[in-house]
């Protein structure tokens, strides 16, 4: 019920917000692209000046809604400051805001980032969360080697971390050029 005195300034729409359950009544998971039919009806009173007893009935409205699963997007960014073999702290690799207009969410819960480092470089232990990323949730950082390339794993599983895809460069992994790197 809309309380007396409610004002609809320049906008005569009444919005009813809600969420869709994760499963149907029978327990079947609801999937992307499912369509839902809904029906809503209204009864108004007191709309006509000078006639407090008048009632207006709006016949039920039918709507079909298409459930779209949220999708997000993020890009990468890197800076190289030094180019010679053996240069320490030669630059960093990071993730970066990506303004893909088709994205319908800006959040990623508990991602795992795998940074495949360029050949001839290694992680130097310097990790920077960056601006707009909550500092209290730290990833578990490990690294391993695949075919002469180091892979740095930033694992946020179980931390509750929500990655913000609109932040500028963050989750920076700083790297060294190896002394025997080949140009």
């Amino acid at each position: 019920m809309i309380s007396a005195g409610a004002i609809f300034n320049g906008d005569n729409r009444i919005k009813a917000y809600g969420t869709v359950n994760k499963t149907l009544k029978a327990g079947t998971p609801i999937k992307d692209g499912y369509e839902f039919d809904s029906k809503i009806g209204f009864v108004y009173s007191g709309l006509i000046k000078g006639n407090e007893n008048s009632w207006v009935f709006a016949s039920p409205l039918y709507a079909r809604q298409n459930l779209a699963e949220p999708k997000t997007s993020v890009g990468t960014y890197y800076e190289q400051h030094k180019r010679m073999p053996g240069d320490n702290d030669a630059g960093f690799l990071s993730v970066y805001s990506n303004a893909d207009r088709n994205a319908t969410s800006h959040s990623v819960l508990e991602p795992i980032f795998y940074y495949v480092l360029p050949e001839g470089t290694v992680y130097n232990g310097n990790f920077d969360r960056g601006w707009k990323q909550p500092a209290e949730q730290q990833p578990k950082i490990t690294h391993f080697t695949v075919d002469d390339q180091e892979v740095v794993k930033l694992d946020y599983t179980g931390t509750g971390y929500i990655f913000d895809t609109t932040a500028v460069h963050n989750n920076d992994v700083h790297i060294n050029n190896l002394p025997l790197a080949v140009s």
């Binding site: 999708k71 990468t76 795998y114 290694v122 002394p179 025997l180």
Partner: protein, 136 residues
């Protein structure tokens, strides 16, 4: 990037030719490629000995490393002679390995030096006189 809870608009790793499943520890579902780039490593025109050391916990030869009771194992010295400047005839490289007098430990070799075919390796545990050996 592995995103188990929300779908992403980026290319699935499975559709990316440079992706190897070992890079994501065998995960292939919900793995996306966010981007790539070029990293340039270059050297000046020079004759130069590049050197590094590989400890028990290193996958590559690095600047410095640790071998101790928590990281036990062998150390490996790696050297490479770079020459992109001019032809060098009968070149000799002198490699100085740790000894107790100048460093905190002796380096004892456990295997032959691994070199390309046309290189001869000489060892000495005594002080080298470069004039005596007619190197210079």
């Amino acid at each position: 990037m592995y995103s188990p809870h929300i779908k992403m608009l980026e290319t699935p790793a499975k559709d990316y030719s440079d992706w190897k499943s070992t890079q994501t520890e065998g995960k292939s579902d919900n793995v996306y490629v966010l981007g790539n780039g070029n990293w340039t490593i270059s050297t000046a025109q020079q004759v130069h000995i590049a050197s590094g050391i590989k400890g028990p916990s290193d996958a590559f030869a690095v600047d410095n490393t640790i071998a101790d009771d928590k990281n036990p194992g062998a150390l490996e010295y790696d050297l490479r002679i770079d020459n992109n400047l001019q032809k060098v005839n009968n070149g000799v490289a002198v490699i100085n390995i740790n000894d107790e007098a100048d460093n905190n430990f002796n380096f004892t070799m456990t295997a032959p030096v691994n070199v390309p075919n046309d290189i001869k390796v000489l060892y000495s545990t005594s002080l080298l006189s470069i004039y005596e050996y007619k190197i210079c």
